[in-house]
Symmetry: C2
């Protein structure tokens, strides 16, 4: 069964680079990757925050959060 | 042709979690992943530093560095 992986970003250059390299490089046989743009989809800010996301870009999978480099603080997107 | 991806870590819990989740989740059809433990393999510190690694865990691929969460500063491993 595939795991769900959600990649949260905000469209910044740091986010886009990380998305291309990390999120889209995960093994498609094992991961269903969803990409969420928190800058345009603010309705999902609460969900990201609840998952433990502090800044973007971040990857959430199997209940763990991985902050990849630093693009923007989550608070800056509210 | 496969890309090379090097995952640098230092054996800390943050590193090990990121290794399992990120480094080992990359698509094996596209990436040859090498895992380097800088705590035991200090000879590779200079190489990591040259690639732009500031802290571990970090993933270097296609000339770009992705710092994933924060385990230890590279300076602490010297």
């Amino acid at each position: 069964m595939k795991s769900k992986a959600i990649f949260y970003h905000a469209g910044c250059p740091v986010c886009v680079a990380a998305e291309k390299q990390i999120a889209l490089s995960l093994d498609p046989a094992r991961y269903d990757v969803e990409v969420v743009h928190l800058g345009t989809d603010r309705a999902r800010l609460a969900e990201a925050e609840k998952a433990g996301v502090k800044s973007v870009p971040a990857l959430v999978t199997d209940g763990a959060v991985y902050h990849i480099n630093f693009g923007a603080d989550l608070a800056a997107l509210r």
